[in-house]
């Protein structure tokens, strides 16, 4: 008899895991989700609200794909896991047995116990139901407040703008995302936010959300004692693992579900992947909880190997990421911290109009390339990855920089200007 695998969660991590188990085995696979029957791309939620796409466009596979690949999809809510006896219980009381269980339950939006955080018109943004709620909550409104200056925060701002809703953007930091981005990059994005006529309130925190007479939000109070009238509040102050029902089981958890480097939990036949995972001993330089699209893919693939019996350790390789702030694309390869370390040297270049920017970082002593941030310029992943693997010297990187350009044809080239500026500042590196 084929082994039975149950995967709870049909996000990118759970689905990648299911697909790879199918590729490598004949296991009986069931994917359970309470959010949607079919896998869709969570990263596209903002585009549904903005009217760029419909939900059907966000499904990366056609509906017949799952039957063809013998992956059973079940839209249901899992109430209980009995890990010692290898079964789960759905909210309608149905019991399902498994040989392997994969938890891919994703995240939930953080709420920090603010007064009024559960009022009508106050919400986070993580899943499809959130977007549907946001759609209902923002019909005909004029003013909204977005709390929290992360990626979901700025996406929410863009979403609201697309509906002509004036936005006040409260950010705890002194500059947007400056816990992740160096000062110049962060400043570029601040300017962009202001350019879009958003009331950007830096170094400002939410204190309280005030109701009107009908249980709806009417204003927010900040720690700077402002009262801001609004009809909608988005709480985008990060996400954390969605593991409430796992905590009641025998599966070991902390902030997330604790796993080893094979994505195995404390129970041998229970695995966990994606946002809900916390590594017991994270790989050097990486966080214990990773909430990124592509790491979800890697988790899923690696876990699948371990489940079908090919032992595989998690080896994610060099860090990379990307985002888009309004019209400004951001890409990063290697790890560039917000503030450079003792052994680091870096160089920042910006074009005359302030629309493009590149930062490269290298090791002070070996001159080896350590990472790159780019804004408004598309950079090739493979090329940067090779530079990182080969620890290419920074002057060689700069000299060869056009190899990494991934901008569309006819776009203005910037490499000569970039190289000249670099050599002006770091001329000594030429001789090394």
């Amino acid at each position: 008899m084929a082994k039975k695998v149950i995967i709870i969660g049909n996000g990118i991590a759970g689905i990648t895991c299911a697909r790879h188990i199918r590729k490598q085995s004949d296991f009986h696979i069931t994917v359970i989700s309470s959010e949607t029957k079919y896998f869709y791309s969570r990263t596209a939620l903002m585009y549904i609200y903005m009217g760029h796409m419909k939900q059907e466009h966000t499904k990366p596979y056609e509906d017949h794909f799952w039957e063809k690949n013998r992956i059973n999809l079940l839209q249901a809510y899992v109430q209980k896991i009995v890990a010692t006896q290898n079964f789960i219980v759905l909210d309608n009381g149905i019991k399902m047995e498994y040989d392997y269980l994969v938890l891919a339950t994703g995240s939930k939006s953080n709420k920090f116990g603010w007064p009024g955080q559960d009022l009508i018109g106050v919400q986070g943004l993580y899943n499809l139901q959130d977007v549907q709620r946001m759609q209902e909550n923002t019909i005909g409104i004029k003013h909204a407040v977005v709390v929290g200056g992360g990626l979901i925060g700025i996406e929410t701002v863009e979403m609201l703008l697309s509906r002509n809703i004036a936005v006040t953007f409260l950010i705890r930091e002194k500059s947007f995302w400056n816990n992740i981005l160096p000062a110049e990059e962060s400043l570029m994005i601040n300017k962009l936010i202001k350019h879009h006529k958003i009331n950007l309130q830096l170094a400002t925190e939410l204190k309280e959300i005030k109701p009107d007479g009908n249980g709806k939000v009417s204003s927010v109070i900040t720690n700077t004692r402002q009262e801001i009238k609004c009809e909608f509040v988005a709480l985008t102050v990060g996400v954390s693992p969605n593991i409430a029902f796992v905590k009641e089981s025998e599966i070991e958890t902390d902030k997330g579900i604790l796993v080893n480097n094979n994505f195995q939990t404390n129970i041998e036949n229970v695995f966990a992947v994606g946002d809900c995972v916390q590594f017991k001993s994270p790989i050097e330089g990486r966080k214990p909880i990773e909430q990124v699209w592509y790491t979800g893919k890697m988790h899923g693939e690696t876990a699948a190997k371990n489940i079908v019996g090919t032992k595989a350790d998690y080896q994610p390789g060099h860090w990379f990421n990307s985002a888009k702030f309004f019209d400004l694309e951001y890409q990063t390869y290697g790890l560039i911290p917000a503030e450079k370390g003792e052994n680091d040297e870096w160089f920042w270049w910006q074009d005359a109009k302030g629309e493009k920017g590149v930062r490269i970082m290298w090791d002070k002593t070996t001159h080896a390339f350590k990472g790159i941030n780019s804004l408004g310029i598309r950079i090739k992943h493979e090329v940067c990855n090779d530079w990182l693997n080969e620890k290419t010297k920074i002057h060689a990187v700069v000299k060869d920089f056009k190899k990494a350009n991934f901008d569309p044809e006819f776009f203005k080239k910037f490499e000569k200007e970039f190289e000249a500026a670099f050599l002006k500042e770091h001329h000594y590196l030429q001789k090394v």
């Binding site: 791309s41 585009y47 760029h52 056609e62 004036a166 350019h195 598309r378």
Partner: protein, 525 residues
């Protein structure tokens, strides 16, 4: 302290109704419509009306464009596309679809209602007489009216597309090219040649409109026209043949079929400009892809065999009139298709290895069938290559494919089925260039490592219905016969994943969806 909300003024006029510029634009375009309607119903006729039409429609549309985008930043502008009735198969889409379809039906089969009359036009056709006299020295025909509308649509909505995509030089250059080729090559040059180089018999003078898109290239009237047309006729004949066999394969080798389909072609030109708001309506399913492959290659086979049959019959009917006769023509056809068969057989393990086995066998069978047909008709001294009169076949093709498919459905159904229905399912030119692109072109769309987040913008806005995301999320390069290289997938990608490239490098196929494992890219080929 209370925050002053007036600081946060709305900055997307498109969802807040019309601003002043847009209102004036709409008013001017309305005036242009009124002038057309006055012309159509013969209420009042004066050449000034035509001037009023051109001035108001041009200024009105440009003002509207300015108003629409003036307060937006340079970048992707798809807000609300899925909400609007016009762009989401709502009531307005159906109204526009029906109006366009009706226009094509009248244009093709009832031009008299537009006022066409050889003894003196009335109505809409007369409305354009002054321009026609100015350009070609003759009174207007319904095709002249159509050509004028068509060119105007590409120019004015091309400007709109350029302004909308002003952040992308690729889109700006590409649109400028479309506008130039339509205005100069399809419209002005043929009309002016008609005037300054009068020939005894009419023949087509749009160099870029090559066979088999221009299936009447092989019609006897066109060939006789070219042969009696002096230097110009000879040039058009030589160019026409060179375009098919030499120029287009070479350009496709270097740049992919985009050099034609999204930079030069008039059908593509209208789709890219006037059709832009509807590009997302193309069907992305694998079923649609399957139908596409059957249909477009069937049309290619039809037009090829029918053209051969038409030429054969022409040589048969006129044994001594031309440089070629039916025997030498048949030998040429047999040699050409013999070479194709040889290539198919010899290269089956390299060039055609990705081909579907069934498709490969069908292709071989069709080619052999053509050789058998022409050998048979030659040996039996018959007149009909396909067992019936070639002229009749040619007429059917013209009716069903040339008129109904490319015109009525191709453009009439823009707001319902997307803009490239003809290009994707019916155009034999696209079929040939697509085969060349798939088999030996340097063009492909490359993907950027593992940056794809599977959001689906690329697939949604692909007018050719290619599921771009399916490739991008695997990190695989995209080499698809149907890709016209419009560059919009790359344009709408929020993570900088896609790039149109011509290059000597091998395309990459990556191993599995997580191509980036253990810090290395797993490249299989």
């Amino acid at each position: 302290m209370e925050f002053d909300m007036s600081l946060s003024v709305a900055n997307h006029p498109s969802s807040e109704g019309l601003n002043a510029k847009m209102k004036i634009g709409v008013a001017l375009v309305t005036i242009s419509f009124i002038s057309i309607i006055i012309g159509l119903f013969n209420q009042f006729y004066h050449p000034v009306l035509l001037v009023v039409f051109f001035v108001t429609v041009s200024i009105g549309s440009i003002l509207y464009t300015k108003g629409l985008y003036q307060n937006t930043t340079a970048g992707v502008k798809n807000n609300g596309v899925m909400f609007k009735s016009l762009t989401n198969r709502g009531l307005w889409a159906w109204v526009l679809g029906i109006v366009l379809t009706a226009f094509y039906v009248i244009l093709y089969w009832y031009p008299q209602y537009l006022g066409l009359n050889e003894k003196g036009n009335t109505g809409l056709v007369r409305f354009f007489d002054p321009l026609s006299y100015l350009l070609n020295g003759k009174q207007a025909s319904q095709w002249f009216v159509y050509g004028t509308f068509y060119t105007l649509a590409i120019l004015l909505l091309g400007i709109k597309f350029m302004y909308k995509n002003r952040h992308s030089k690729y889109q700006i250059f590409r649109t400028a090219s479309i506008m130039f080729f339509q205005t100069a090559f399809a419209f002005l040059i043929p009309e002016l040649l008609e005037k300054f180089n009068p020939t005894p018999q009419y023949f087509t003078k749009d160099i870029k409109n090559m066979w088999p898109l221009n299936f009447y290239f092989t019609d006897q009237w066109n060939i006789d026209g070219m042969l009696s047309g002096g230097n110009l006729g000879a040039f058009m004949l030589v160019m026409g043949i060179a375009m098919i066999f030499i120029i287009s394969p070479i350009l496709t080798y270097f740049y992919g079929k985009r050099w034609y389909c999204s930079w030069v072609c008039g059908c593509g030109g209208l789709a890219e400009t006037a059709g832009d708001p509807f590009r997302h309506l193309s069907d992305k399913s694998t079923t649609a892809w399957k139908i596409e492959r059957w249909m477009v290659y069937i049309v290619l086979v039809l037009v090829t065999i029918i053209s051969i049959a038409v030429l054969f019959t022409m040589f048969y009917d006129n044994p001594a009139k031309y440089w070629l006769n039916k025997t030498s023509f048949s030998y040429m056809v047999i040699v050409f298709f013999g070479i194709l068969t040889a290539i198919l057989l010899i290269k089956r393990k390299t060039v055609f290895k990705d081909f579907d086995r069934k498709a490969y066998i069908i292709a071989l069978a069709v080619i052999v069938f053509t050789i058998v047909c022409i050998t048979n008709v030659l040996m039996s001294n018959g007149r009909n290559v396909l067992f019936m009169d070639a002229g009749t076949l040619r007429q059917w093709y013209g009716f069903f494919i040339g008129s109904i498919f490319s015109g009525v459905i191709g453009v009439g159904f823009y707001p319902l089925m997307g803009t490239r229905v003809w290009c994707r399912f019916g155009c034999p030119m696209a079929a040939i260039l697509g085969l060349q692109q798939k088999l030996f072109s340097r063009f492909r769309i490359t993907t950027n490592g593992s940056q794809c987040i599977s959001c689906g913008n690329c697939s949604t806005y692909c007018e050719m219905g290619i599921d771009v995301r399916a490739y991008a999320q695997r990190g695989e390069d995209i080499v698809r016969a149907s890709c016209v290289g419009c560059g919009v997938c790359s344009n709408v990608c929020p993570r900088g994943v896609l790039k149109l490239e011509n290059g000597p490098q091998k395309t990459k196929k990556l191993n599995g969806p997580v191509q980036y494992v253990n810090g290395v890219f797993e490249v299989t080929e």
